[in-house]
């Protein structure tokens, strides 16, 4: 992997450039616009994107507008059902549930999105390299994946986070989850790449003198985008649940901080007696997972040039 050729398609924007490469520019531009057009026509994806944006605003702007944060306040009457002052009620200890929900959504989103970005990028690259080179490189790389997959996640988490001093922050949680979940992506991508690498267009690129890095980045990964996106959206859902179980075991995000998983955990016994503690975080988790899923669908279709532009 000696040289990584930049996609040198747009010429340096010097004013003196005599020919501004009309075809080339418009080609690049046209591709992006096509992807955007296809995505915009995907109804569910667009609706989901809207909902997700609202959720993000709620989680990150909400705390600035709402008088109560996620901590205990003396002024709050404990254990109250929803009212005008506390639309989602209050907890035993005296939290405002809406305040908790904002902070919890924020932490959960941060963890889930970080995990999915890190694990997908790393896992896809790992899988593509293993599948492209095959042979002993593949054998070694995939044995590493196998080992990581059989280590019970929570044991490993316990071992690692036990050594992290001074409480566990959201990014530490995200890093740990990512460390153990990129393997699923790697497996998926390797499988796809194994069959892609036999296709003639890969050989054509090699015959043109393309470096291995170029083949992996420009040919293999884009063609593996569909299955990768599917795996990545699943990963978001699992990382939300993983974070919750880590919190439960005392390794994840800890009180006084809060996450959606932790909120559900705290409200486990109250699902029937005080449903306002249980359902809001539960519904938020379901909603985040669903929207991400639909956005993934839309993205997958939008990136596939063979999809015709039709409403669905």
């Amino acid at each position: 992997m000696s040289d990584l050729h930049p996609p040198a398609s747009t010429p340096a924007p010097s004013a003196s450039a005599a020919s501004p490469d009309p075809v080339d520019r418009s080609a690049e531009h046209g591709q992006l616009r096509m992807v955007a057009t296809r995505f915009l026509r995907h109804r569910m994806a667009m609706a989901s994107l809207t909902v997700l944006v609202l959720t993000v605003l709620f989680a990150f702007l909400g705390p600035l507008l709402w008088p109560w944060d996620h901590t205990v306040h003396r002024e709050i009457l404990p254990n109250q059902p929803p009212s005008w002052a506390h639309p989602f009620g209050t907890t035993n200890a005296g939290h405002d549930v809406l305040g908790q929900l904002m902070r919890g959504t924020q932490q959960t989103l941060k963890v889930a999105l970080t995990v999915s970005v890190l694990a997908t990028a790393f896992g896809a690259l790992w899988g593509a390299v293993a599948g492209y080179y095959r042979g002993w490189i593949d054998a070694v790389m995939m044995r590493i994946v196998d080992v990581l997959m059989v280590v019970p996640l929570l044991v490993a988490v316990a071992a690692i986070s036990g050594n992290v001093r001074g409480g566990t922050t959201w990014w530490a949680v995200a890093l740990i989850i990512a460390l153990f979940s990129w393997t699923t992506i790697a497996r998926v991508v390797r499988g796809v790449v194994l069959s892609l690498r036999e296709q003639e267009f890969v050989e054509a690129a090699r015959a043109a003198g393309a470096s291995d890095a170029r083949i992996v980045l420009h040919h293999l990964l884009p063609n593996a985008a569909g299955p990768t996106i599917v795996a990545a959206t699943l990963l978001i859902a699992t990382s939300i649940l993983l974070e919750a179980s880590m919190s439960f075991l005392g390794f994840g995000i800890q009180a006084p901080d809060i996450s959606l998983g932790l909120m559900i955990d705290n409200a486990r016994t109250a699902a029937f007696t005080r449903p306002w503690l249980f359902y809001p975080p539960g519904l938020f988790i379901v909603m985040i997972c669903l929207t991400i899923n639909f956005i993934g669908d839309g993205l997958r279709d939008a990136l596939d040039p063979r999809q015709t532009i039709t409403r669905r």
């Binding site: 050729h5 996609p7 075809v23 418009s26 043109a208 470096s211 420009h218 040919h219």
Partner: protein, 712 residues
Amino acid sequence: MTSTNHAPNPATAAADAPVLSVTDLHVRIPTSEGDVHAVRGISYHLRRGEALGIVGESGSGKSVSALAVLGLLPRTARVSGSIQVAGYEVVGRKDAELTRIRGARVAMVFQDPLTSLNPVHPIGTQITEAIHAHRDVSRAAARERAVELLRTVGIPQPEQRIDAYPHELSGGMRQRVVLAIAMANDPDVIIADEPTTALDVTVQAQVLDALQAARRATGAALVLITHDLGIAAGHVDRVAVMYAGRIVETGSVDEVFSSPQMPYTLGLLGSQPRMDAAPHSRLVPIPGAPPSPDHQLSGCAFAPRCPLAKPVCRTSTPQLTAVSDTHAAACHFADQLAGIRPEELFASNTAPSANPLPEAVERTRSRGEPVLVAEGLVKHFPVRSKGLIRRRSGEIHAVCDVSLTLHAHQTLALVGESGCGKSTTARMLLNLIPPTRGRVSYRGQTLTGLSSSRMRPLRRSMQIVFQDPFASLDPRMTVFDAVAEPLRVHGQFRNGGAERVRELFRLVGLDPAHGNRYPHEFSGGQRQRVGIARALALEPEVLVLDEPVSALDVSVQAGVINLLEELQERLGLSYLFVSHDLAVVRHLADQVAVMYLGRIVETAPVERLFTAAAHPYTQALISAVPIPDPRRERARQRIVLRGDVPSPMHPPSGCRFRTRCPVFARLTEAEQARCATEVPTLADHGNDHAVACHYAVPRSPLGDAFPPHRTP
């Protein structure tokens, strides 16, 4: 057939009544993009013992019209018109009712013999099952008949083979088994849909022989669907040419081939590469592409591609009109076609430089210095056993001791049947896979063993065009980016790369404005042009063409072949042309190397090969290629090889061809022993002609009686 014990068909009683009568057949198949009007009103009638060939390019509705006869179309298809099998109306019947005639009255042979046999049953069971489905005979009798059928279609040792499973048989044998099943109930009609397209040419000759044997044995009428005009010329009495769902011309083979009365037929004949062509004669491509079947058509469907088209052609649909008693054509201006030659009719469409060369002016391309040289190339692929521990359980001897020299400005063709190692050799020449032994050098510089970064600057001079125009372009890259990729890789894109790409598009006959489209938006021929443009981007000196036209329809293929010839003349390229199609090779090559099972058995200048081939394999290969000329086809002496190509895992000792060699069979024991022990080396016969056979005798495989073909 001696032991047929069923009542005679009522239809055969009336000797001249047609056994298959198709009248005004229309088939519409609904799809998400609207109705596809696949068959748009065809009629034909077939008597017992007659053979009708249906020819046409892919998508012309050949297969759909055949499937309709058996009621095998998708349930959603809407069929109208009438199909009568021995007086029994098929259109409108329920599936269950049709099982009575399937197999018993009409039998079908499909293109792919692997999918039409059940992999879990021995072939004998599948034949007896077919017999029992329509007749009440004892098991022993059915088995006996199965053996007899297998013998008829030319399966050696049928008593033993009857218990074999499909996977134990080669493609050609399987297709013969399918034929035996088709014959099992003495059908009135056998429909064969491209029965040999998946097979090699020497095996194709065997299967076509078996098909004729089946016809003789059953006396059935035959509908032979094919895209190969040569096969039609030699194996049917009448031919129907289909275009866009209609029959546009029909008649006896002699009349249709010698005096076509419809521009499309004329164009097909002109674009078909033929082995008996005059040296280096240009093909005549038909411009444009067939209409897509979901198109609404009015008037003559061929009008957009027809040089004779007048306004009336676009408004009124020409009907099949009799030209003679046995010949009809659907064209408003059929009378203008008398005596006209394809290149005259389509002349306005060939590029100025693509005018047919005067035949007296032999192309005298000076043979330049050696460019690409291979010495003693060997390639073994390991075969690993399945399971946990993947032991090395054997080796495929794909290429064995191959030496080649490609000279500047010349075309060297590498010819052979599938699996003979030609693609592997081509890839080793480009250093895309490392040879097990041997050496490749480009202008004196050894390529073998160079690292990929040392190889990169050399890649500029050597490029490759692949066989499959679908798989060789990245589906997620625009064709502009695909053509630009070599420039980007070599850092040449920044200065004027985009202009260069546009220039390349124009060079191969594509519209530069289509650059931002994706490969799937192009037709096969256009995609292949993109592949050629990509290969030319770096101005290479050597182009390796791995079956560049074998995935294309003839009318489109001719355009690509002409393009390649033109580019060679304009840019002074050297081609290594890998192909299984000798007819195409005849048009393009200067020097030919014939491969069999990993070895080169003969190499000769193209003229010499077709007039004085000396290796028994080359002779058989040439004699197996059909020629689109009914008179010549009937007059030809064929050498039909026995058996199949042996497995490259255990190639025969000595001469690898001896298990099938017709000369070997006639040798004395002492001579045979020599073939079995001593590997024949390429011995020089003078004039660049070398042959690897101990008992080589040159002879003209086409028959000396024929001067080179001149278009009618």
